[in-house]
């Protein structure tokens, strides 16, 4: 693993060259170099490190310099769905048009609650990105979707103004052997945001860090939909920073063959009367493997907080595996409620018998149960325009279930 990471960015000089080629201002070059310094100092992950334990694949990548072709238009992310009051541009363009906003977000990023070597790496080496800004009070009816294909190191910055309302979809369809993605979402007071992250890459390794900070009385619903990649590691950290803020975190994984998924979530309560709910589900076929680590953190300054966490794993074959680990870090007595639960197991015999007793054969009954397993999460997103596409992506896999 350490071997591979040092292949990607050989040194500070490489970082400076990348920044110069992208025509970046000095502050951004400095931020990259600082991130690289952090990256260098962080201990190299080993097989036993938390979060890297099951990283059993081999990377073979060429150095970053060969990858960065920022001036080739077909490599740009595609952005669909424009609405008044919404600005969606490449991040490098936003550095010019919104220098202060972007600088604040990048030079003073959200405090990383956990330290990731992969996070430092992407802060140092990102090549392209998207900037989305929704104006204060703007109610966006159409979902905004942007799709990354190339290059493989991306950085996304989403700023939603106070009282605004928007649905934003970030899709990843990278084909490079390695992908790294960082997303920062800043949500203003009273804003209502749905954010859907789709990981449908064909990468050998794909790493995503998503951080969100919520203002007062705002609400964020996130869905992480992961179906691609041989190995993927995803960190979703929600910082409930304003009083009364609310976060619904949803996750859906469909694993097949020898795919490995490693999800880490953080429900960070940092203000009074905040509420978080989490439902992460995985359906695992073949010899796929899902590992879930979910932290609920309720700080001293977050009285009357409410937190829920549920992780459900459906094993569709004898060789599929799932691990789940809840972690509670509660520093205050005055908590309204904090519960968590996890299940791992095959399709429930009683459900199966119930459906069969109504005339459905075993395959049809199993498919219906698995579809329902997903549908429950899609329904919670509450935007069928977005989830209908995701259901279509899963459908062929579910159709195949009867085949073995």
């Amino acid at each position: 693993m350490a071997q591979f990471l040092s292949d990607v960015i050989s040194d500070q000089v490489g970082i400076r060259e990348l920044s110069a080629r992208l025509g970046e201002p000095a502050w951004l070059t400095d931020a990259r170099v600082a991130a690289y310094e952090r990256y260098s100092k962080l201990p190299a992950p080993t097989d036993r490190s938390e979060g890297w334990r099951r990283l059993t694949f081999e990377y073979g990548v060429t150095p970053l310099q060969d990858r960065s072709q920022p001036n080739t238009p077909e490599l740009w992310p595609t952005i669909e769905g424009s609405s008044p009051g919404v600005e969606a541009v490449r991040l490098h363009d936003a550095i010019k048009s919104h220098p202060d906003l972007v600088r604040m977000a990048i030079a003073k990023p959200l405090p990383a609650i956990s330290l990731h070597k992969d996070l430092a790496l992407i802060e140092a080496g990102w090549q392209d990105g998207v900037f989305v800004r929704v104006a204060d009070g703007c109610v966006v009816t159409e979902p905004l979707t942007f799709t990354y294909c190339e290059p493989p190191f991306t950085r996304t910055l989403i700023v939603v103004g106070a009282g605004a309302c928007a649905t934003i979809v970030e899709r990843h369809t990278e084909t490079w052997s390695l992908g790294l993605s960082l997303t920062d979402v800043m949500i203003g007071d009273g804003a209502q945001v749905k954010f859907v992250y789709v990981q449908n890459t064909s990468s050998a390794g794909f790493f995503s860090v998503q951080r969100a900070r919520l203002g007062r009385d705002s609400k964020l619903t996130t869905l992480n939909f992961a179906i691609g990649g041989s190995f993927s590691k995803t960190d979703v950290e929600v910082d409930l920073n304003g009083q009364g803020a609310e976060s619904d975190m949803l996750g859906l994984v469909f694993g097949d063959k020898d795919q490995q998924f490693d999800f880490h979530t953080l429900q960070g309560h940092r203000a009074p009367d905040t509420r978080s709910d989490l439902l992460f589900k995985s359906a695992l076929d073949g010899s796929s493997h899902s590992k879930y680590t979910g932290v609920i953190s309720i700080g001293k300054d977050a009285p009357r907080s409410e937190a829920y966490q549920a992780n459900r794993n459906l094993l569709l074959s004898d060789d599929a595996r799932a691990d789940t680990e809840p972690k509670l870090e509660i520093l205050i007595d005055d908590v309204a409620r904090c519960t968590h639960g996890a299940t791992i197991g095959p399709v429930d015999d009683e459900q199966l018998f119930y459906l069969r007793s109504r005339g459905l054969d075993t395959d049809t009954a199993s498919r219906l149960i698995v579809e329902g397993f997903f549908q429950e999460v899609f329904h919670k997103v509450g935007d069928e325009r977005v989830t209908a596409d995701l259901a279509k992506m899963v459908a062929p896999h579910v159709e195949r279930l009867g085949a073995h």
Partner: protein, 253 residues
């Protein structure tokens, strides 16, 4: 010759190593309603689950025929498609699967995967069933039994029976836990289903529902054996005297 729907001879059912049903004979003719009464733990639910083919309830000995076919050779789905139906006492919930979607699948299974009805006819079929059971039409969009109250579950079981129109309906304590208004609705559903073509095995602990659904035959099941058979007057006797006399008989025997 009598038109036999269900024929059980010396039927034994085990769960794990424990024998629950210890040799019963039961014959149900087309067009009749049979009540199977018994105290808790007598094996009523085990019998119904075994008849429907639940893998944990194994028929270890005896004969079980539905319309002359040996059901021991049939999967639960084959039994259902042949015309058997169980109103579960405790039906499973299936989160994420709406009642409408579930019903569409059950009807498709009866038409070899083809859409059996036009959307309009499908809707009117379901609407009719929910209406006759005084159910909120919104139930069709809810997930099967997910978050349903006890009474809502019973009605959904009945609704499926009315839509699927099985030949034999086995009702496993469909009356339990219902208030009198709900009980009347369920009883009206059973009466609506009752016909010369159909047969009912109504499993119950209490005589109460039999005031609304008059059975042709009453069987008393105690400790896995049928200890008494008779007409409606037997149910009335149970109401006043309870199951104790039968339990004692069995101990004495």
């Amino acid at each position: 010759m009598a038109d036999l729907i269900l024929e059980l001879k010396d039927l034994h059912v085990s769960v794990g190593e424990t024998e629950i049903i210890r040799g019963i004979d039961l014959t149900i003719e087309r067009g009749t309603v049979h009540a199977l009464m018994g105290p808790n733990g007598s094996g009523k639910s085990s019998l119904s689950l075994a008849l429907m083919g639940h893998p944990k309830y194994r028929i270890t000995r005896g004969v079980a025929r539905f319309e002359g076919r040996d059901i021991l050779e049939m999967s639960p789905d084959a039994r259902s498609l042949a015309g058997m139906f169980l109103c579960f006492q405790y039906p499973s919930s299936v989160p994420g699967v709406s009642v409408a979607n579930f019903m569409r699948n059950t009807l498709m299974a009866r038409h070899k995967g083809a859409a059996p009805l036009t959307p309009a006819k499908f809707k009117s079929l379901l609407d009719g069933a929910t209406k006759s059971l005084k159910m909120d039409p919104a139930v069709l969009g809810r997930y099967v039994n997910d978050g349903f109250s006890g009474g809502e579950k019973k009605r959904l079981e009945m609704m499926q029976m009315l839509v699927l129109k099985p030949t034999l309906a086995i009702l496993d304590e469909t009356d339990s836990g219902l208030d009198i208004d709900a009980l009347k609705v369920i009883a009206a559903g059973i009466e609506a289903y009752r016909s010369p073509e159909h047969a009912v095995l109504l499993i119950t602990h209490y005589q109460r529902i039999l005031n609304y659904v008059r059975p042709d035959v009453v069987h008393v099941l105690v400790k896995g054996q049928i200890v008494q058979e008779g007409g409606f007057e037997l149910a009335e006797r149970l109401e006043s005297g309870g199951y104790d006399p039968f339990t004692k008989d069995l101990v004495g025997a």
